[in-house]
């Protein structure tokens, strides 16, 4: 019973979210979308009420909740839209909102590069493929019949509930542990007798500097130089593979 009192409140937004996703999924018989939208709004608002930190800067918290709600609602609309072109555009909105969250997490370089890579390259390429493949403009039958939307979203929301309950046990999303100031990383202890890499020292005491280009570049090319080389190799191999897989013009165009 004590468990119910502590955690039972989480079940309401979870159930509402499941209902919203299931209701908004495209179906052969058209459902009124306003009910699903209202349910999704109620779920997001309830989650924000539960997540509201009691103290802090109001501007920063307001921006965080704005970006978070935009990201979650756009993601829900993206996976439930009938038209894949609209889905790609909703995904662009999710990317912009996530970049706002990156900015709040003091990662301006990461936000800029995410916008360039995702909105500038990936979504445009997806839109090109959609336009090549679906030139008729009508929504196909397979876009209107998702595969078992009720069961899949139920299982996914059960997983989300498990994650949220674990979070609540761990720190308390209802404000049990709010000491959230940036602290020096201590969970990687350097073994004795090994000289630490001078490039990867803690750069300064200013917590707002962790996303700057100087610190990021030092970490990338100091600690993770081997991984950077590997990532470059992976990019090269992916380019070669994409060129090899893509259909030739001699095999007939789309």
């Amino acid at each position: 019973m004590q468990w119910n009192e502590e955690n039972g409140l989480l079940l309401i937004p979870l159930g509402l979210g499941w209902l919203a996703v299931w209701w908004l999924m495209p179906a052969v018989k058209q459902r009124p979308r306003i009910l699903g939208g209202l349910s999704a709004l109620a779920a997001v608002l309830m989650m924000q009420m539960m997540l509201l930190p009691p103290a802090g800067e109001p501007v920063r918290n307001g921006l965080f909740f704005l970006f978070a709600a935009a990201a979650v609602l756009s993601a829900g609309l993206m996976i439930t839209d009938k038209n894949p072109v609209y889905s790609a555009l909703w995904f662009a909105l999710v990317t912009l909102a996530v970049c706002g969250l990156f900015l709040l997490n003091s990662a301006p370089f990461l936000a800029a590069s995410t916008i360039i890579v995702y909105a500038g390259a990936i979504i445009v390429t997806f839109l090109f493929v959609i336009m090549l493949a679906q030139q008729s403009g009508t929504t196909s039958s397979y876009d209107q019949q998702p595969f078992q939307p009720g069961v899949a979203s139920f299982v996914a929301f059960v997983l989300l509930g498990a994650l949220l309950f674990t979070l609540q046990e761990w720190g308390g999303i209802d404000g049990k542990n709010l000491s959230d100031d940036a602290r020096p990383g201590q969970f990687v202890a350097m073994p004795a007798g090994i000289n630490p890499n001078p490039l990867s020292q803690a750069p300064s005491d200013n917590p707002h500097e962790i996303g700057s280009l100087r610190v990021l570049g030092r970490s990338l090319f100091g600690d993770y130089l081997f991984a950077v080389e590997l990532a470059g190799t992976v990019l090269l191999i992916a380019t070669i593979g994409a060129i090899a897989i893509a259909p030739r013009r001699s095999q007939g165009t789309l």
Binding site: L51, I79, T95, L104
Partner: protein, 146 residues
């Protein structure tokens, strides 16, 4: 007290991941499946940057840069695969690709080849594999018909 609570960022990341998982499981359009995978990567990136700010070191952001690299590779490869799949079946439905075997290859476990194998090939658009290696001898001395 300058930071938004870490837990709320983790909640946002988990929600994005779960929504991407729902899209990955339910939608039947190949392009939407790949977009949902990218959505799951976004959720992971939010988690990584939140922990990077929480611990005050740039490692989470470096990991996010690597996630970005892998996402770009994955998008390029997936789109070329989708194009070549679309060229074979003229549809983006993932249910058309549910069967993995070929009908005209001999079934080696049964001594009698199915009679329907000699008829018209139903999978003209699939790449054809020629049987390689030696045919194993069965006990009764009859060989499977190739």
């Amino acid at each position: 007290m300058t930071a938004t609570a870490l837990e709320s960022q983790l909640v946002v990341g988990a929600t994005l991941f779960i929504l991407g998982m729902i899209g990955f499981l339910t939608r039947r359009n190949l392009i939407l499946i790949m977009l949902s995978a990218e959505l799951m990567l976004h959720g992971v990136s939010v988690n990584l940057t939140a922990f990077s700010r929480y611990h005050g070191n740039p490692q989470g952001q470096v990991f996010t840069i690597f996630v970005l690299t892998i996402a770009a590779c994955e998008a390029g490869l997936a789109l070329s695969l989708i194009l070549s799949l679309y060229q074979r079946r003229k549809s983006l439905d993932v249910f058309l690709w549910g069967k993995l075997g070929e009908d005209d290859l001999p079934v080696l476990s049964s001594p009698i080849a199915p009679a329907s194998a000699a008829q018209a090939d139903p999978n003209v658009d699939l790449p054809h594999l020629t049987p390689a290696g030696r045919m194993p001898k069965t006990q009764s001395g009859t060989q499977a018909k190739t």
